[in-house]
């Protein structure tokens, strides 16, 4: 859970007086080398992202002729084009409409299943647990076509409710796996006390256990938000009929495809930047929790 960030490392402390002995020299050579390498990687992450932001302000001609230069005048109309002609605004709303329900549903159903699997003994408990956890290993595209048919049969193909329940089902393996581990770590004393006080199983869950599991719930919620926001394959197959209904990743891919023959790369990159902005802001604000949340399940 705990992602340790050694903040202390930043407060510069005066180095102890250096003595020119062998390990020190080795240390210094290593230092220069590894610092250079660390910065090289940082540059490799920052430069492509910053460059695409820069490129999103250029005209089509500037992008092709002068990829490394600055735009003569920043073309904000790229953003207007992306938002209106590129439908990025609409894709945002579509994604939100789906995710309000899918994230909430994932968390509720995931927490319910995980809680029962973690704290109650009954026949088949282990089997169910492995059934959920094993789902993390399934390659999604193996199920795509049967899934497509399943939704078609019940009339949920190309609908948001259909996508919502599929998101929930495919987010359950990791959510249940992670939350089961989390519920197991919670102390039993509080639960027993609540039961003695006459709380039923339901009250115990909603009023005692859920609040106690808050850190775990937050971590996995962030994980699911990012995961579902970035989902690409499932909407590509299950929500393909009407391009205007697309969710954000899918919409961007459509935009990339259209840009090919409409020749407006500026709008494409502006759209890409727009899609990046909410994730970037969320990342900067919540970066500790996100890092903890995304790596947490792996550590338990």
């Amino acid at each position: 859970m705990a992602t340790q960030t050694p903040a202390k490392a930043e407060t510069a402390q005066p180095d102890p007086p250096r003595t020119p002995d062998a390990p020190r020299v080795e240390g210094r050579v290593m230092n220069v080398f590894s610092q250079a390498f660390l910065w090289l990687w940082a540059v490799m992450v920052i430069v492509p992202v910053a460059w695409i932001v820069l490129t999103s302000f250029k005209s089509a001609r500037e992008i092709a002729v002068d990829p490394l230069g600055l735009p003569e005048t920043p073309r904000w109309e790229n953003y207007v084009n992306a938002w209106t002609n590129g439908h990025i605004g609409g894709y945002f709303l579509n994604t939100l409409q789906v995710m309000v329900f899918s994230v909430f549903g994932t968390m509720l159903l995931g927490a319910m299943a995980a809680y029962v699997l973690a704290r109650y003994e009954f026949r088949g408990n282990r089997l169910l647990y492995f059934m959920f956890a094993g789902g993390m290993m399934f390659p999604v595209f193996l199920a795509l076509f049967p899934l497509f048919k399943t939704l078609q049969n019940v009339g949920l193909l190309n609908t948001y409710p259909g996508l919502v329940i599929v998101y929930i089902a495919y987010s359950l393996p990791f959510t249940v796996f992670f939350l089961t581990a989390f519920f197991r770590t919670l102390p039993t004393g509080v639960a027993e006390a609540a039961l003695i006080d006459g709380a039923g199983h339901y009250r115990l869950f909603f009023q005692v256990m859920l609040p106690m599991a808050k850190p775990g719930l937050i971590a996995i919620t962030i994980f699911n938000i990012i995961g579902q926001w970035n989902q690409f394959l499932l909407p590509l197959v299950l929500l393909s009929r009407n391009p205007e209904d697309a969710v954000i990743s899918q919409g961007l891919a459509n935009l990339a495809l259209r840009q090919g023959y409409e020749g407006d790369p500026g709008a494409l990159f502006a759209g890409t930047v727009l899609a990046m902005v909410p994730i970037f802001l969320a990342y900067v604000i919540f970066q500790r929790q996100i890092q903890a949340g995304l790596t947490a399940g792996a550590i338990k």
Binding site: A42, V45, V65, M112, V116, N230
Partner: protein, 307 residues
């Protein structure tokens, strides 16, 4: 605790288990069944043809065999490079700073590096694909790398990196590494944080250099995490497809030079209307993932070191 236990369990499990069984387990089971038929996917008619699909898979030199070879390359390259870089960075950022006044610390700016490195992990594959497609683009489309090479008077592939058979697969792997390193850096960092500091201090007193410290103290104690990372990355590598779909010409081209197993499944299922064949390949992929996980758990097992 006894009374009302079973109705409660049932009421809590019914919905999640039902949904999961209906939308995850059942489709996967159906895929296994479909793989034994000759179903095209569009009609309602099909015959059971046993394992014919599986036999034919390995005769397909156009798509399947190149895809298997490329996926095998990715399954080896992605975990090796990502774990090596992740461990190196995690070590430098957490321990590599060496003792300042006797305390073990990371190098300066460790927090900044962690934030930056991890960022690609939260970007969607669609964004990463569009971003890198432009970075790799040919010069007359304004590619970043080709443009930079030209600036220094160096030769660059005329059609960009993705339209060049020699570079396309390496380019895809580079993007995969680019986006995963940050995750494993943070993952290994958390594991390193749980190693008691006095072990390092003891090592320093005994005169261990940084390289020795890493191989003699950090790596052995991190073995479990490395193994977990290996399994994760192998599964990711087997499932590589969306990036190829987004970035490469013909979704696996040029000339099948970046064809991967996931992409071939996609092509057979949704372009060629050969559901059964696609499912058979998917089943093979599933067992490959299972085998990889079991093998790395069995043979990666080392003595547990308690600390």
């Amino acid at each position: 605790m006894r009374h009302g236990k079973y109705p409660f369990i049932l009421s809590f499990l019914a919905l999640p288990v039902g949904l999961y069984a209906w939308l995850v387990i059942l489709p996967f089971a159906q895929a296994f069944q479909i793989s034994l038929t000759d179903w095209s996917g569009s009609s309602n008619q099909f015959n059971y043809i046993g394992l014919d699909n599986y036999v034919n898979l390995f005769k397909d030199e156009n798509l399947v065999m190149p895809a298997i070879r490329h996926t095998a390359i990715i399954v080896v390259a992605l975990p090796v490079i990502t774990i090596a870089l992740g461990l190196f960075f995690a070590f430098m950022l957490n321990i590599g700073g060496r003792s300042r006044q006797g305390r073990i610390e990371g190098v300066r700016g460790a927090r900044f590096h962690k934030i930056v490195y991890f960022f690609p992990q939260v970007l969607s594959v669609a964004i990463v694909g569009i971003l890198w497609q432009q970075v790799y683009a040919p010069q007359n489309f304004g590619g970043l790398i080709t443009g930079t090479l030209d600036l220094f008077g160096l030769p660059a592939p005329v059609n960009g990196f993705l339209a060049d058979k020699r570079f396309v697969l390496v380019s895809v792997i580079a993007v995969l590494v680019w986006s995963s390193v940050g995750f494993y850096l943070v993952f290994f960092s958390s594991a390193m944080a749980s190693i008691p500091r006095d072990l390092y201090e003891a090592g320093i007193i005994d005169g261990a250099g940084r390289i020795q410290t890493f191989f003699k103290i950090t790596l052995p104690l991190l073995w479990d995490s490395v193994q977990t990372a290996w399994i994760y990355l192998s599964i990711v590598a087997l499932d590589v497809f969306v990036l190829v779909y987004m970035m490469t010409p013909d979704r696996g081209g040029p000339d099948s030079a970046s064809e991967v197993v996931g992409g071939v499944i996609w092509k057979y299922a949704f372009n060629n209307g050969e559901q059964a064949f696609a499912s058979a390949l998917g089943v093979v992929l599933f067992f490959a993932a299972l085998t990889l996980a079991v093998v790395s758990l069995r043979f990666g097992r080392r003595e547990q070191i308690e600390y």
